[in-house]
């Protein structure tokens, strides 16, 4: 194995307090750290852990195809690896959940013979399950990037939770720094083929700050296109014919009963 290595980590959504110990170690001990995070507090956390850290956000140029931007990020991450350095690449949330450049960097490093690993982080979906009281194990859960959901029209089980990511950039394949909701009516049209107009849709955005709440907007599906959708929103649809409603929708009595019948996670 040639000198040079890569560890790809996630900062979590609430940077600093959702950073795992192993991710923190990787950032602190790397010869070079390259990072892409969603806001300045998270950037500060990474820089304080390793003064050699530098951002990749200059590559995120509005209007440029994201595929090309991610290729450029992989090249920037790989350059110090090829120079024999230990490199840590840190991304917002989980580095491998909607983390194209993180996965691509690991694949590229391994293809060139370098040691490369990805460490898990706390994703927006992890926060979503906690904040909304949804257990994906109860009904099942389907997760799609919203544009792919619209274009590829996958078969959907309406008895399971449906989570759609990146609805605020629907139809866009370029780098975007402001939401573009112009195509949202098309998504609503497709969802109306599957769900009733009064089916509740939750527009959810996890909070990056320890003293702020998640943004949660609940609207009937038919009203979604006109709703105030948070910038970084993920859309959640509960089962149409649920085998069991999300936890927060149940009464406290039902919740207690459900807890009492929960199977152990491991034996």
């Amino acid at each position: 194995v040639p000198p040079g290595s890569l560890i790809v980590v996630g900062t979590g959504i609430r940077a600093g307090i959702q950073l795992t110990d192993e991710a923190r170690d990787a950032i602190e001990h790397a010869d070079e750290v390259l990072f892409l995070v969603a806001e300045p507090v998270a950037a500060g956390v990474v820089r304080r852990l390793n003064p050699r850290a530098r951002t990749l956000d200059h590559l995120y140029e509005p209007g440029v195809e994201r595929r090309r931007t991610y290729e450029a990020m992989v090249e920037e991450i790989m350059a110090p690896v090829r120079n024999g350095l230990s490199v840590c690449a840190a991304f917002y949330g989980h580095p491998g959940v909607f983390g194209t450049p993180g996965h691509a960097a690991v694949r590229q490093a391994r293809a060139e013979g370098y040691a490369a690993v990805m460490l898990p982080g706390i994703s927006a979906e992890d926060c979503l399950f906690a904040d909304l009281g949804i257990d994906p194990g109860t009904s099942g859960c389907q997760t799609y990037e919203a544009t792919r959901f619209l274009v590829q029209r996958p078969a959907i089980d309406t008895g399971a939770v449906l989570v759609l990511w990146q609805v605020s950039v629907l139809g866009r394949s370029d780098c975007v720094t402001e939401p573009d909701l112009t195509q949202l009516p098309l998504l609503v049209e497709r969802l109306l083929e599957l769900y009733s107009p009064d089916h509740e849709v939750i527009a959810y955005e996890a909070s990056p700050y320890p003293v702020a709440d998640a943004k949660v907007r609940r609207v009937p599906l038919a009203s979604l296109a006109a709703a105030d959708v948070p910038w970084l929103a993920t859309i959640v649809l509960a089962p149409a014919q649920p085998t069991e409603a999300p936890v927060e929708a149940r009464s406290s009595t039902a919740r207690t009963a459900a807890a009492a019948t929960t199977l152990p996670l491991a034996e």
């Binding site: 609430r14 806001e39 304080r48 955005e205 700050y209 003293v211 702020a212």
Partner: protein, 67 residues
């Protein structure tokens, strides 16, 4: 604006977070936030807080909203 500094303080210091949860107004006042800044944090709205944090960090790049 001191909100960005306060978010950094809360991120770095578990005692500061506990102090905020016990007594939000007192914790923010002791840190030096003025009434306008306290009102923004009290909304607990991440978008409003992010706007203030971003305004205080012009060197930060564009808001990355896709990955």
């Amino acid at each position: 604006m001191k909100i960005a500094a306060y978010m950094k303080h809360l991120t770095d210091d578990a005692n500061a977070r506990a102090e905020f949860h016990r007594d939000p107004e007192g914790a923010m006042t002791r840190f030096g936030l003025n009434s306008e800044e306290r009102a923004i944090v009290t909304t607990r709205d991440p978008a409003k807080i992010r706007a203030e944090v971003t305004r205080a960090s012009p060197q930060h790049g564009p808001l990355v909203i896709t990955f």
